[in-house]
Each structure stands twice: as C-alpha cells, then as structure tokens.
C-alpha cells in the first residue's frame, strides 16, 4: 500500500501528514490530526455526520481520500470558534435554540448551515430544509435545528448591517 506525504490546509493552518492512499479524509482528520469533531455514521455518504467544508462547500469526508484534498482549504468544527473560544454565530444559535440532543450529527449540521448562510443571506425555510436534507439527525426531528439556523440567519444579518 502506497504511503503519501501530503500537506493539508485545515482551518487555515498547514499540516504535514503521511497517509495511505486508501485513507479517507475522515480517518485522516480524526486519526492523524486528532480532529475528532467529524464523525463516522454510515461511511457510505448517506448520513452526513462526517461533513466538513472543502473550499466552503459541504462534503462527505468519508467519501474522499485524504490525498485528493491536498490543494484545498478544509474547514472542520474545531476551526469555527474564535481563538478566544467564542462560539460562531451558528454554534451559538444551535446552543440557544437547543438544536441538538446527543451532539453526534451536530458538528456536521453546523458546518452545513454555516456554508448555507455564507452564501445565502436570507434563506427561506424551504432553503434551510433543502440545505440540511443531506444531514440525518435521529434526535431532534429537525425542528429546533431549523429554528437555530433561522436565528443564526437573523444574527448574520444584524452583524452584516450593524
């Protein structure tokens, strides 16, 4: 099995890692970089729990090989809070609206919602549900997740227009 020395750009910082060709981005983030916020759920691209942002776009890290992602900007949940630990707007809205229960799908939900709000200032409820439809949650029934994204959208607008 071939090993590859690659440099991944994760949350704005370069990381040199040696990975097997068959290692997924998910396993690389978790096992090589210690970034445990992306979670394995189905490992076949259905549940979305492994979602990270690749150049700002939500992707399934279980379906990408780490070696494929070298020239891209990867964002994980660990990079969303500020250096001082202050939560991002979306993170804080999920907490405020209790848009989670067990927390397992939560990092992926937050990243997916963040990507939506970074490209759509005033998403409709239908757009929010559409954007989140690739991320399964078994706890919440999505109600408080959608409400959290609505709240985050309001706060984004306040931030932008303040």
């Amino acid at each position: 099995m071939s090993e590859h020395n690659i440099t991944l750009n994760v949350n704005g910082a370069p990381h040199d890692v040696s990975v097997a060709a068959r290692q997924t981005l998910l396993d690389c983030l978790r096992d090589e970089l210690g970034l445990k916020g992306a979670h394995a759920g189905c490992e076949q691209g259905v549940c979305g729990a492994c979602t990270v942002l690749l150049d700002g776009v939500p992707v399934r890290s279980c379906l990408l090989f780490a070696v494929m992602t070298e020239s891209h900007h990867i964002r994980t949940i660990e990079g969303e809070a500020g250096a001082d630990g202050a939560l991002s707007i979306v993170q804080d809205a999920f907490w405020e609206r209790h848009g989670l229960q067990c927390g397992y799908c939560t990092p992926a939900m937050i990243l997916t919602a963040t990507a939506l709000l970074e490209r759509t200032e005033q998403p409709t409820d239908a757009q929010i549900r559409d954007a989140l439809s690739g991320n399964l949650c078994r706890c919440t029934g999505y109600q408080q997740i959608v409400e959290a994204v609505q709240l985050a959208a309001e706060r984004y607008r306040e931030d932008t227009h303040a």
């Binding site: 068959r22 445990k36 189905c42 630990g85 209790h98 229960q101 067990c102 939560t106 078994r138 029934g141």
Partner: protein
C-alpha cells in the same frame, strides 16, 4: 411555569390537594435556559467512544455469518493470521467455555448465548469470529482471508409458522415459542356478549429500530496492578458492568464502566453486552486495550439492535352509542434468534393497555417466538408504540363502523379528569390527566391552522388527502414490574435512581450521576432540579458522570424515567443537605431546627429572618470548625439519596394485575397528509401535537423529545424496516436501504403544551423521553386511512411504503386525479 391550566380542570379533591404542593413558583424549572451539555457539542468537544485513544490499543473487526441458519463445520484462520498486524483471531469455541452465558429477560437456561457463534449460526450477521489487529483496516483485510465451511440449514423466518413449529432455532428448548401467556382482566366474555357490536382487525408493526447515527462502540483496558477492567462504551443499559463481570466470571468490583462517555444517540438500543464481553475478554487475554467500533453493517445486521416485530389481532366490543366495552388483543412478537430482553417488551404495554380510554375489560395474549433473524433490544417505548397503533387503529375502525367522528368517539371514551387516579383493568393506576382539555388545545390549533379546509383544498387539487388522529399515553418512571410479570423467577421491585451531592470547602456544589447521557440532557435536568430545591443557580452546579465503582445505584435513562427519578433523587439529596444545614444553624443559634427556615443557601429564624447563617459560614463550619457542629455530626457537607420509583412496591398478582409505571403523560396528534395517487408517496403538510407531561423542567428539552419522537414515528410508519427475504437474508443493512426521515420528510411541527401535574413527583413532572414516538405512527396510519377512505381501503401494515399504498388506489381514482393535477 404556571400550573393554572391544571387548577382549572382538576376537580378531584384528593388530587387537587396533592397538586397544591406543586403550586409553587419556580425559579429555574420550566424556564428557557441553555442546557449544560450543548456547548461542548456545538464546539466539537463532545467525547464519544470512538474519540478515545489509548496507547497500544488494538482494534476488532467481526466476521459475520452469511447464512441465516447453518452448521459451522470448520474455520481456518491461518491465512488471516499470517497478515502483518493481525494479533489474534478468536471464535466461539475459543471463548464459550471460559464465559458465562449472557443473561436473558426470561428464565430459559437451556438457551445459552455467547458473543461469538458456537457450532451453529442462527441468523445472517451473527458473529462467527473476531479479528484483533493493530488497526481496524488491517482487521477488516484479515476478515476476507478467513475460510469457513458451513452446511446450510433451513431457516425459520415467518413468526406465525414459528408459532406452530418449523425448524427449531433452539432445539434444546423444544419449541420456537419463548413466551406465551393470556391475561384476562375483568369480565371480557360478559362484556363481549353484552356489546351490541364487535369488529376484528389485524395490525402489523414492521421490524424497525431507532438506529442512532453513532453505531455502538466499546473500549476495554485491563490494569494488571489493580485487576480492574476499565470499560468505555456508547452505552445506555441498566446493570451494564455487572452483566459484563458476570459473563466474564469475575467480581462485579473488577469492572469499572465509565459514564463520562457521550453517547451518540440510543433511544433504547445502545445495549452492547456481547460487544463488551468480547472486548473485555480480549483486553484481559491480550493485556492490551482493545476497541470495537461497529461499522454500519455490523450495527444493522449483527449488532442485535432491532426493535419489536409484531402482529396484532384485535377484537373490539362496543355499543351503538360509541361506548367501547372490551378489547381482546393478541400480540405475536418475532424476537429473532436470541431472547435478550425482547420478550419483556410485550410486558410494558400492560401498564397502558386501554390507552386513555374507559374500557372495562381486556384479554391480552402475549406471544414471543424465536426465528432466524437478528435479535432485538429495547427500543423507545419498550413495545408501547406498536401497541398504541393497535389501540388507535381500533378506535378509528369503530368510528368508521358507527359513522362517528373519530375525535368525537375518542372524547366520549376518554377517562374523565375527575376520575383520576384511575385504575385500569390490568391493575395500573393512572396518576393524573385531563385528556379533554389537551384535546381541546389540539382542536383549537387545528382550527387556527385551517387543517380541515386545507385537507379539502388538497383533495380539490387531485391529491388524496387525510387527517390523522391519535390519542395515546406515555407511561413514565420505569419500575421493574414487567420483569416479574413476564418472568416469575425475577423478583425485582425497584429501579432506583440516585444523587450523590458534595459541597466543597469553597461552597461549590458538584453532583455525581451514575449514568451516561445520550441526548436527554441529564446534566441540565439534575442541575435544574437541584438548583430549584436548593435555590441556587443551576449554572453554578457542576454535574459529573461517575463510574460504576463510585456511583450510587442507577438504572439509566430507560422508560421515560429520568425527569421523575432524577428529580426525585435530587429532591431527596437536597432535603438531606438542608436538614443538616438547619441542624448546624440550630446548634449555633441555640434554637430548635423546627424554628428555622432555609432559602437560597441561607438558614434563618422563621420568626426573625435577621437571625441567619449564610452559605459561606455554614460551609466553613462543616468543613473546618468542628467545634461549632452539633456533637456527633458527620463533618463535611455532603448528601446522598437513592430514590425508589413512586408506587413501586408490589410483585404482580396471580392474574397479572400490577402497578406498572407511576406517571402517565398524554399526547394527542393530528397530522395532515396527502398521497400522490400515482406513486402512493405520502407527504406530510402539517403536524400538530398537544402534549401533557405535567410540569416541564426544561421546555426546550421536552420540545426536542416530542419533535424527535415524531420523526422516529414517521420513519416507523412510512419508511423504516429491517426486511428479510424468505431465506432469512437481511435486505436493508445499509442506510441506503433503510431510509430514515430527513428534513424533507419531517414537517414543521406545532407543539401545544398543557400541564396536569403528577401528584407523585417532586415538581409535578412526568416522563417525556418517548414523547411523540408513542403516538406518531398511529397518527400517520390514521391519516393515510383517512386519505384512502373514499375508496373503502384500509392499510395497517407498517411501514406503509409508497408502493403498498399505491396498490390500494383504484385506477379510476388515478385517472380522476390526473385530470385535476
């Protein structure tokens, strides 16, 4: 949180007197407050079992049986063992003689189960061998190099056939019937004879489960110095470490399960005993930490995490005026190859066998049969959700038979608010409720949302539209009564819960709970309950998850019990602490403790509040100034309390009557759906639920439970099933084949809360962990059948897949719809 709704509607004197105790104004209970847990999850700081790294840790992958029923002739691991990185391969033969069989809920000592198959495989997916390697990838590679020679045997797949005979799953047991008992409560035959009408029907609840996004995982590490086996697991199971120890034939004190592991969803299914026994044995044998994290197929096929799989045959006796007199319910459950606790899931519904209705008598025949399928575990509601479908489908059919409005018929038969506490035929006493008031909120919401007009408009557009009605109970508080009911050898009558409270030298409060959390918010619950009792901000109370060697007894968040049980434990511990503080103050003020009051950390003279001892002084006395403590008093400031289930006392009577759970929450559902006439696809346009679980401790958590439970129920009603073919092959082993509802399938939900306090609990709270789920499947069945009513069609096979619904839509209806669409 106001309880005024309850005060207006409860006119029973005894209950009213009891609920007066709950007419206090809450500082923290019932208010919107951010949970204690959520912050770590949104930040990506959750600690799930797969996140734990231990030096030298080995990884397990499992070889699963490709056959539903076969003899294992030989197994050759040599090629796999030769692969670099493979440390060990074990089979059932290697370990069974060293282990005790895993416990069942029933007394069936002849059925002996071990983590790995022994001589015969009993279902497709059963574990045949475990590979231990330096990485999971290597272990998976090695699986493909193991050679197994099987002789296939005829499997038994159909539960009705299993009931009559067929190939035996456990020949030593002599039959495929694991449990069969008929309970008759009150005058069933007389009620049927006297009734003006009868009807019969069948409901099928397909085999599904809650299927958390996180699979089950466990890590074990043995310390030779202390001889303690440490276990970290994604677990929600009472007596987990005790069962591991018993199976490993070691002392209970030699296993320490850690509860500070975040569990990525459970809803009942995270049991994992066979996983933990296997990994625990390997960790001791290999003197290395060993980890097993199921992949999705291991979870779906071999994880023994399926739920009830049940056929109901219901006979109902009723009068022309709509009075429902009696029910006969036969429930046949296909429990799969291993009994586990599955047969017990036929027992819990005994506690709410008549739903919210005044039904005089019931005959209940509960049957559990073994087949060559994956085993079951507890699933949210422990058998109550399927039973509620059977009861509610019966009410709809009676309404149809009599030409009555479905809601009106339910209102007519509801137990009246003044009748509580109300004893049902099977012996349980419902604590409190006002079903008419809750239903009225649903009716008002339906009017506000124009549900009925909306339905008419959908029909105008050429769709088949229907409104569903379901009114169901959520028994909460979980005592063990169904265990002795189903297994007379089991004499358990307590499922206690505990609180271990410490005040440190700085006055800080920490409290240990002896359970892990899988999304129910137990840290928030305990801090809120304790904060309320002590008058101290819950944000200042540290809640930790202890382990099984330090923690006091707990029975984990099964059975909608934690609000009731942890709330009770918190109240008990707070009472002990306050009493001690009063005694300290009384000694220092030279008064009797009876003359003192406690409020928000201060003890003061009731008649002269200016005479007082504040929190820092009280803490200082307890921790340092023993000369100021009453002689003989235990130094320090700590309290423990173990809380017994309210009304949990008696073993079942000979006729099976027993007080099952103490508290009964009520919920009334109303979904509006449409069906595409061509494809049979169901779309849910609106979903209303009126819900009463007594006093809300954290409204956001209760809301999440209701909405999440409804999503589970939608899945069970329309999409999810572990389907097997005639050869016993699982057809839906991945999330592609086992479709779970997404944001597209789950609509926005309108939740209306009502509060009828329980007279039995610390704040008037009831359970909410199974909310939504216990009524949503019944409500969707009702809605689909309302949509099909114009064609005189009825469906009661769950899941009601689009293809199954489409078959019921006549061609003329499709044409007529197409012309309008």
């Amino acid at each position: 949180m106001s309880n005024s709704g309850a005060r207006q509607t409860l006119d029973n004197t005894a209950v009213a007197a009891e609920s007066a105790a709950h007419e206090r104004t809450f500082r923290y209970v019932g208010h919107h407050r951010r949970t204690k847990e959520d912050r770590r999850f949104v930040a990506g700081h959750g600690k799930f079992v797969a996140d734990i790294e231990l030096p030298g840790m080995l990884h397990v992958a499992l070889l699963m049986s490709p056959h539903a029923h076969a003899t294992i002739n030989s197994l050759d691991p040599s090629a796999a063992l030769a692969l670099a990185g493979v440390v060990r391969i074990v089979t059932g033969e290697d370990i069974a003689a060293l282990l005790a069989p895993m416990p069942h809920g029933l007394h069936l000592p002849e059925i002996r189960g071990f983590p790995l198959a022994l001589e015969r495989v009993l279902y497709a997916g059963e574990w045949v061998a475990a590979v231990v390697a330096t990485s999971r990838a290597i272990a998976e590679d090695a699986l493909e190099l193991i050679e197994v020679d099987y002789t296939e045997l005829e499997p038994i797949v159909d539960p009705e056939r299993a009931l009559k005979g067929g190939p035996l799953v456990h020949p030593q047991h002599g039959t495929n019937v694991l449990f069969q008992r008929t309970f008759t409560w009150r005058e069933v035959d007389a009620d049927f004879a006297a009734a003006e009408h009868q009807l019969s029907h069948r409901v099928r609840w397909g085999r599904n489960a809650t299927v958390p996004i996180e699979t089950f995982g466990v890590i074990a590490k043995h310390d030779p110095g202390t001889d303690i086996l440490d276990v970290w697991a994604s677990i929600q199971m009472p007596k987990f470490s005790e069962n591991i120890a018993s199976c490993l034939r070691i002392a209970h004190t030699s296993v320490r399960a850690h509860y500070d592991v975040d569990v990525g969803g459970s809803y009942g299914v995270k049991r994992g005993l066979k996983h933990a026994v296997l990994v625990g044995w390997l960790a001791r044998e290999l003197a290395r930490p060993v980890r097993l994290i199921e992949d999705r197929l291991e979870n779906m096929a071999g994880g023994d995490a399926h739920g009830p799989d049940r056929n109901f045959d219901v006979d109902a006796a009723f009068d022309a005026d709509g009075t429902v007199r009696s029910l006969k319910i036969r429930a046949l459950d296909d429990c799969g190859a291993w009994p586990g606790r599955a047969p017990l899931q036929l027992g819990k519904p005994v506690g709410a066998i008549v739903g919210p209705y005044r039904i005089n008598s019931v005959r209940y025949e509960a049957i559990s049969v073994a087949t060559n399928k994956t085993g079951q575990v507890a699933v949210r509601g422990f058998g109550q959700a399927p039973t509620n479908v059977a009861i509610e489908a019966t009410m709809d059919l009676i309404a149809e038979f009599l030409g009555r409005d479905r809601e009106d018929l339910r209102r007519q038969n509801y137990i009246r608010a003044h009748e509580f506490p109300y004893r049902i035929p099977s012996g349980s006493e419902y604590d409190s409720g006002d079903y008419h008031a809750v239903h009225q909120k649903l009716t008002e919401a339906a009017t506000a949302a124009n549900i009925w007009q909306w339905k008419a408009e959908l029909r105008e557009r050429g769709l088949l539209a229907g409104v569903g009605i379901a009114s169901v109970l959520e028994p909460g508080g979980g005592n063990a009564a169904f265990e002795p009911l189903m297994n007379p050898r089991n004499d358990t009558t307590t499922w206690m819960e505990s609180c271990l409270l410490r005040v440190d030298r700085d006055g800080g409060i920490s409290v240990a709970i002896a359970t892990s959390t899988s999304g129910q918010g137990h840290e928030t619950l305990m801090a809120t309950a304790l904060g309320e009792e002590l008058g101290i901000d819950p944000d200042l109370i540290r809640v930790i998850h202890s382990d099984t060697l330090i923690g006091l007894p707990s029975n984990t968040p099964v059975a909608s019990r934690m609000a009731i049980m942890m709330g009770g434990a918190a109240a008990g511990a707070a009472g002990v602490l306050i009493n001690k503080l009063k005694q300290i103050a009384a000694y220092n003020l030279s008064l009797d403790a009876e003359e003192l009051s406690y409020d928000r950390g201060v003890v003061f003279v009731t008649s002269d509040p200016s005479q007082r001892l504040g929190w820092p002084e009280l803490v200082g006395i307890a921790h340092r100034q023993y000369h100021r403590m009453p002689p003989g008093m235990e130094p320090g400031l700590q309290a423990q309390y173990v809380y017994q289930v309210p009304k949990g006392r008696d073993l079942p009577a000979a006729d099976g009557t027993v007080q099952m759970y103490p508290c009964y929450a009520f919920e009334a559902h109303m979904p509006l759906i449409s069906i595409d006439p061509l494809t049979g696809e169901v779309q849910i346009h609106a979903y209303l639920i009126a819900h009463d679980c007594g006093t809300l401790i954290n409204p956001d958590i209760v809301k999440g439970m209701c909405c999440g439970g409804i999503a589970h129920g939608i899945g069970a009603a329309l999409y999810e099933e572990f389907s097997y073919d005639a050869h016993g092959q699982l057809l839906t082993g991945t999330l592609m084949d086992y479709p779970m509802p997404s944001t597209r399938e789950v609509p926005a939900i309108t939740l209306l809360e009502h509060c009828t306090p329980s007279p039995l609990t610390s704040f008037g709270q009831k359970g909410a962990g199974e909310a939504g789920y216990l009524g949503a499947p019944a409500a969707i069945v009702s809605a689909v059948n309302d949509a099909l009513a114009p064609f005189n069609q009825n469906i009661s096979n769950l899941p009601m897949r689009a293809a199954d619904i489409a078959k019921l839509i006549p061609a003329h209806a499709i044409t007529a719809s197409a012309n309008r669409l």
